[in-house]
């Protein structure tokens, strides 16, 4: 015992430090947390989880407590006789079989209620958004509004959103912890999430099903905005792309773009019709690029356009290796596409 005490003494500072680190880790902010829901769906799930967690904690305390108590109370004492050989006790067996059953019923009933409530079909009047997963970015289409965009989802607050989701290649998983929970997107299937966000803000999310080299880089943003802000966004997205003034670097960039390899994969309305990569018509209206992984600014775009695979392993977009002049021009053009 003495030896162990000394060992513990020496380790204590280290353990305290680790404990502090762990507690300090609780400071936040946590933009992708599941624990602060901001939608009806998120709240229903959180409510259910809190209840189950409370039962789990209670069981933990009781059972671990009994274990620790038994270990302390029944330590071997020198010279003590061989203990009475108890082989079992039927009433006890029945009790500790029925008690978990009862607790599980308390967990199962709200669970099943919540399953059906959260998987009900979308009510009439919901805003439909189609979500299509790609390696390694998200495509969004608003069929009733005629909008196509990528990686950043804009939705109005307080309105029911109906996501119809599928994948273009492998299985991904669409996850916005605060507002939409998670659902896999499976090629050949259409999955649904129905939710209503209740708080304005910018929410982070990420693909949650291993989907290849850059699974870690398949991120997303969701913007929950007022009706007027959302309508303004929609109106802007429906506009044709900004046409650069003649003899500007942006005009040169547009020209380079239209005659370059870019058109094979990207759509800029009226300029190109590629379907493999994200729609770039209003690229500069977004805050991030490349699967919401990098900020949408010139520096990142320059690196991305010329050397995508080095920034995002396995990127389908290969190194463009454009000469500097073309690169600057194209990026200037892209940054003008608000």
């Amino acid at each position: 015992m003495h030896r162990h005490y000394r060992l513990i003494q020496r380790c204590l500072p280290g353990l305290l430090l680790l404990g502090l680190l762990a507690v300090g880790a609780c400071a936040g902010p946590f933009p992708q947390t599941t624990l602060h829901p901001k939608s009806d769906l998120g709240f229903a799930i959180d409510h259910l989880f809190t209840g189950i967690f409370a039962w789990a904690t209670a069981v933990f305390v009781v059972v671990e407590g009994l274990l620790v108590y038994a270990l302390i109370r029944f330590r071997a004492k020198p010279g003590a006789p061989v203990p009475h050989p108890t082989h079992g006790h039927t009433a006890l067996e029945i009790t500790w079989t029925l008690a978990p059953v009862l607790i599980l019923v308390m967990v199962a009933v709200p669970t099943i209620r919540t399953i059906f409530a959260t998987q009900a079909p979308a009510p009439a009047g919901s805003l439909k958004v189609e979500v299509i997963g790609h390696q390694w970015w998200w495509e969004y289409r608003y069929p009733d509004l005629g909008v196509v965009t990528a990686n950043e989802l804009h939705i109005p607050v307080g309105k029911t959103i109906a996501l119809d989701m599928t994948s273009n290649d492998v299985i991904h998983s669409f996850w916005i912890p605060a507002i939409a929970a998670k659902r896999d997107v499976v090629p050949g299937h259409v999955n649904h999430i129905v939710f209503k966000a209740d708080t304005l803000g910018e929410y982070m999310g990420q693909c949650a099903e291993f989907c290849g080299d850059s699974h870690a880089n398949m991120r997303l943003r969701a913007f929950v905005e007022t009706d007027s802000a959302f309508n303004a966004w929609v109106a802007n997205q429906k506009q044709p792309p900004v046409d650069p003034k003649p003899n500007t670097i942006q005009a040169t960039g547009k020209d380079d773009f239209a005659h370059g390899a870019c058109i094979a994969c990207h759509t800029i309305q009226g300029v190109s019709a590629g379907m493999i990569g994200p729609n770039l018509t209003h690229l500069a209206s977004r805050t991030t690029i490349a699967g919401a992984t990098f900020p949408d600014d010139s520096i990142d775009l320059i690196q991305w356009v010329n050397h995508a695979p080095s920034r995002k392993p396995g990127a389908v977009m290969m190194d463009m290796n454009l000469p500097q002049a073309n690169l600057q021009a194209i990026v200037a053009y892209l940054m003008s596409l608000k």
Partner: protein, 598 residues
């Protein structure tokens, strides 16, 4: 009788005790390999945007960590104990099919080597890098694993390696089912079997029924990748979700294959160190059987985010919650075993109690997973990584270490050092909790699993660092264990037949047992022969010659046909397939017709 020594005697051995040791050392080495893979993973994740390994290497690391730990470490470590201990516990001289037993081992070794060769043979496949190790996750979801999205040989190494290992598991399963049912000593009725032997029986039944399912699932993937079929591919009318169903129909029984042997070991150790019988023996045995049956009905709880629909979700949620009941009942019976006892805190007991404490946590997080809506926030995040490591590390690994410390004296004749053992235990317990407890939070705070890096914006950087420190602490504890093993070889206390005063038949033999196990096959009249009837099972010197079977080369020869066959497919060399088939046929025929007496 002197036992033969030398390399040939080990290569041709059909003795369950030697095969048990071969399994142990091979599995332990793979455990260390899997551990190093884990340390590399944790090093990469210690900070956001880490640069320890690149994305492709990371994806190979987490795939191989899972695959190695499950198929090359934990399962074979359990089999090591099935091999060494079960025949002793039932009063037999060996297993029912000694050469099949050897075959199982060689197939395991060769399968593990085959799969791990992939780390080094990239240049042979013009991969542009050294490694073409499996990289689709240990669960290999289609359609990512189809040729179109996984171009190189990585997935081929995975699926072929697993097929080879499946043969080993199946063969072992058949062997132990028959051994336990048919080779028991007189008086050893089924309800007198030690719980470890019972759990071995149940696990063996699970092995022989679950592995055919994954065999077919992998065969479908092989057909898709090599022969242009569309089992899991949309373009041909197939559905990637079929893979998930087939994989998890295997996969859930598989997790019970992983936990039941450890539960069996714990069920032996608690009575020995409490000096009273297992509380509720019948209930504990039936719970194990019930868990095995019910384990077939829960598979889609791994698929709650796939969109199976509310009815399927509700059904599988209910069956999953139901299976918590026999599991909980076992835990209560274990605590009741300790209750009223005279508990000796030797290292085996510490690990057994650690098992219970950690498994409770893992089991409870499992209950939170059982609720599909809640699971939608947990699945595919670090929360479930926490769950699986509490049940597999806190559960299986602790249980197996408990078994190691408990049965080491029986297998080697020497006791492992208690001081080093206790140090190992405490370091491993603290390390484990530091490594995995934060993962509950990391997951709920929004970090998905299987990501080679994460954004500093998530706010989980510090927790990840704590987790990494815990992982390295586990590694330190393992070094202490290794030192313990090395030191014990020469300096360990001589154990004697029954150093722990255990109750079951293995403790009637010498430590280590004679090559024939029992000079006189005992007749038993109780569940606890060494406590209730020690004189009648005591072993005297043998009166005459006791026949033990000769060794055989043919299990190894036959086994080597399998990796040859796999290599022929992965390299596209048809002639090699014919050579492999010939090796297999020759091995099997010679095996079948050599004179061999059990």
């Amino acid at each position: 009788m002197t036992e033969p020594t030398g390399l040939k005697s080990w290569i041709t051995t059909v003795d369950h005790k030697r095969i048990g040791k071969l399994y142990f050392w091979t599995a332990f080495c793979f455990f260390l390999v899997g551990g190093i893979e884990a340390l590399l993973i944790r090093s990469q994740l210690a900070q956001p945007n880490g640069h320890i390994v690149d994305a492709r290497t990371y994806n190979e690391l987490f795939t191989m960590h899972g695959t190695t730990m499950i198929f090359l470490a934990l399962m074979p470590l359990s089999v090591a104990f099935f091999n060494f201990i079960v025949p002793l516990q039932i009063g037999a001289r060996d297993v029912a099919f000694p050469r099949l037993n050897a075959f199982s081992y060689w197939v395991f070794l060769l399968g593990g080597i085959f799969m791990n060769l992939s780390w080094f043979v990239g240049p042979l496949f013009h991969a542009g890098r050294m490694s073409v190790a499996p990289n689709g996750g240990w669960f290999g979801y289609a359609n990512l694993t189809e040729r179109q999205y996984s171009i190189g040989p990585n997935i081929d190494f995975w699926l072929l390696g697993l097929q080879i290992l499946g043969v080993s598991s199946l063969a072992g399963g058949f062997n132990f089912v028959i051994t336990i049912l048919n080779l028991r000593a007189p008086g050893m009725k089924m309800m007198r079997l030690p719980v470890f032997t019972w759990m071995t029986l149940v696990t063996s039944f699970l092995l022989i029924t679950a592995f055919p399912v994954i065999t077919v699932a992998l065969a479908f993937l092989m057909f898709d990748r090599f022969f242009g079929t569309h089992f899991y591919e949309l373009s041909g009318g197939g559905d990637p979700v079929l893979w998930q169903h087939l994989f998890w129909i295997f996969g859930h029984p598989e997790v019970y294959i992983l936990i039941l042997p450890a539960m069996g070991a714990v069920s032996e150790i608690l009575p020995t160190f409490s000096r009273k019988p297992l509380f509720g023996y019948t209930v504990v045995v039936y719970s194990g059987i019930l868990i095995a049956f019910m384990g077939w009905g829960v598979w889609s709880h791994h698929m709650f985010s796939v969109g199976l629909g509310p009815i399927a979700d509700a059904v599988f949620s209910s069956t999953t919650m139901l299976i918590a009941i026999p599991t909980g009942v076992k835990i209560f019976n274990w605590i009741a075993t300790l209750w009223g006892g005279q508990i000796r805190f030797d290292t085996p007991l510490l690990f057994a109690v650690g098992f219970i404490a950690m498994f409770i946590i893992g089991g409870l997080s499992g209950v939170t997973h059982a609720s599909p809506p809640a699971d939608l926030q947990q699945t595919d995040t670090y929360y479930v990584v926490a769950h699986i490591h509490y049940v597999l590390f806190g559960g299986t690994v602790f249980g197996l270490f408990a078994g190691m410390y408990y049965w080491w004296p029986k297998m080697t004749g020497r006791l492992l050092s208690e001081t080093l053992g206790k140090t190992h235990f405490w370091l491993m317990l603290i390390g484990m909790n530091l490594a995995f407890f934060p993962m509950h939070f990391i997951g709920l705070l929004g970090m998905p699993r299987r990501v080679y890096t994460y954004s500093p914006d998530l706010g989980v950087s510090d927790l990840n660092l704590v987790s990494t420190i815990g992982a390295f602490l586990i590694a330190v504890s393992m070094l202490i264990f290794i030192w313990n093993i090395i030191r014990t070889r020469t300096k360990g206390k001589i154990a004697g037949d029954n150093p722990w005063q255990g109750a079951t038949l293995e403790w009637a033999t010498s430590s280590p047992p004679a090559v024939y196990n029992f000079a006189q096959i005992p007749t038993v009249h109780s569940r606890l022969p060494l406590w209730n009837e020690p004189e009648s099972v005591a072993q005297r010197a043998p009166s005459g010659h006791i026949h033990v079977p000769d060794g055989s080369w043919w299990p190894l020869v036959a086994a080597s046909g399998l990796p040859l066959l796999a290599t022929s497919l992965i390299s596209g060399q048809l002639w090699l397939a014919f050579v492999a088939a010939a090796v297999l046929l020759v091995g099997i025929f010679k095996w079948g017709f050599e004179p061999f007496e059990v």
